[in-house]
Amino acid sequence: MKILFLMSSVPDTTSKINFTDNDTKFDESGIQFVINPHDEFGLTKAVQIKEKNGAEITVLNVGTAKTEPVIRKVLAIGADKAVRIDAEPLDSYFTAVQIADYIKKHNDFDLIIAGKESLDYNGAMVHGLVAGMTGLKFVNAVMGLELKDDKTVEVAREIDGGKEYIETTLPLIIGGQKGLVKEEELRIPNMRGIMMARKKPLEVLPPVDAPVRTKIDKYEKPAPKGAIKLVDKDNLDELIDLLHNEAKVI
């Protein structure tokens, strides 16, 4: 089985977000990049499938050389080889075109694992656009995946207020998330993995020409909150009054 893992590298979740160049650019100074947390569940799932059924895992990232340390981390966790398409992921459409092009040229992946959304631009679209462009099957917000036989898979998809179980067939693209594997099963790189990762191939490919469809003109930070109003624990009537008359929520 061949698995393609789509990895988005994003600022560590505790990062303070700032903008530079007259608020036209995200300020990357001092930012630590990590594997997108939603993607991590899919990566561990891929490694589990490899251990159980045998599989070859390729990690694909559209990004500049800056993402290589994060790609190496994915190799250390268990991917067999890496491909980086050497471009700034300008917008989701551009990024999806690159990924779709790679998939079409290879055309032999059984399972393509993405995350349901990247935690930087929160688009929730790259993998779905790839599905549209390649005609591959696609299920989003996947919180469980079970291979029934060579062809059939059952996935659990998050729906508002619950889960929907869908039976479908490979090849398939999933947008993974929490639940795909248990939290305590998430893999982190160990020393042996890190050593081995150094020797694993990382191929760098040029991007294909593609237009962008959206463009960010400028950024701003959300308006700062006003100071908190503290209510004495023995005077909860005041809280009810504030919620009723000021916030108008009860």
Binding site: N140, R213, T214, P222, K233, L243
Partner: protein
């Protein structure tokens, strides 16, 4: 030119998200002199949308299409847009719409913007604000294509009544229904009778400060008296104290209710990332140094086991008035 909204249903009725989309579309249509159309499958009360400014509802009665399938619904919406000369399409941020969005964007060749929180700016170019970096930033995003698809962030727009004389039109979209065979729904697990966390106006949430699952009775009661949904922090779900569907935060659900009440939650940055879109936040915590006090609008420093039961009594009394 028309603005088209994808109207979702909830138990056969027009969902609140559809009313929000209609209100957004109407506000923009009034500025540009456009009209608003809606398309939806199996909406028993489709005419309800006229109240919120929808001029025409394309009602789809096909039994198969009443069940959601991302590819079928994307085809349905794309067909409605093409046949009705709509180049601006709006969808909600429900799980279904998030799933369908990119597939629809591909069919429409549309520039697609997610987590939109503003009407398009008054400018020559088409620019909207959207949330990025898990609510820690806002990006002014320009759409460069003729067809545009916007996914509106949850609870960013109020439902506003602006009644118009609308019409209902039966619509039979060109959809390849074989996609339903490609994705067979074998089972659905849905908590019934409870308010779903994603739609709730009020959410009562608790964290590790509650010490153990046996103490959630008062949280559920507080939620009950407020008509609220319940949520929890990540460790609480990880410890198995609460079902993981309740986990909110950066790696859990992202919610944006009108009121979020956090009990015994420290307010870690990853937790806040999932809830700081809430209009109002109340924190109850016995540690005045808890970071949540920096993020919330209202706070009570105190022991949850003392404050919450009292608050329940006070709210009960208030509701009786």
């Amino acid at each position: 030119m028309y603005i088209l909204i994808y109207a979702e249903s909830q138990n056969g009725k027009v969902a609140k998200s559809a009313k929000e989309l209609a209100s957004y579309a109407k506000a923009y249509a009034d500025k540009t002199g456009q009209e608003v159309f809606a398309v939806g499958a199996g909406l028993e009360d489709a005419g309800e949308l006229f109240k919120y400014g929808v001029n025409k509802v394309l009602t789809v009665e096909n039994e198969t299409l009443k069940q959601f399938n991302a590819f079928a619904h994307a085809q349905m919406v794309a067909d409605a847009a093409k046949k009705n000369d709509a180049n601006l399409v709006l969808i909600s941020s429900s799980n279904d719409a998030v799933y369908m969005g990119p597939v629809l964007a591909d069919l429409l060749d549309a520039g697609y913007v997610s987590q939109v929180i503003s009407l398009p700016e008054e400018s020559d170019t088409f620019i909207v604000k959207r949330k990025v970096f898990s609510n820690k930033g806002i990006a002014y995003t320009e759409v460069l294509t003729d067809n545009k698809l916007l996914r509106i962030a949850k609870n960013s727009f109020e439902v506003i009544e602006k009644p118009v004389e609308g019409t209902l039109e039966k619509f039979e979209p060109e959809v390849d229904l074989s996609v339903y065979d490609e994705y067979k729904v074998v089972k659905v697990d849905k908590a019934t009778g409870k308010i779903s966390l994603s739609d709730a106006d009020i959410v009562v949430s608790a964290g590790r400060g509650l010490k153990g699952p046996e103490n959630w009775g008062m949280i559920e009661e507080l939620a009950d008296v407020l008509g609220a949904a319940t949520a929890c922090s990540k460790p609480v779900a990880d410890l198995g104290w609460r079902p993981h569907q309740e986990h909110v935060g950066q790696t859990g659900k992202q919610i944006a209710p009108n009121l979020y009440i956090a009990v015994g939650i420290s307010g870690a940055i990853q937790h806040l990332a999932g809830v700081n879109g809430s209009k109002n936040m109340v924190v109850i915590n016995n540690d005045p140094e808890a970071p949540f006090f920096k993020a919330a609008d209202y706070g009570v420093v105190g022991d949850a086991f003392e404050v919450v039961p009292k608050l329940i009594e006070k709210i009960k009394a208030f509701k009786k008035q």
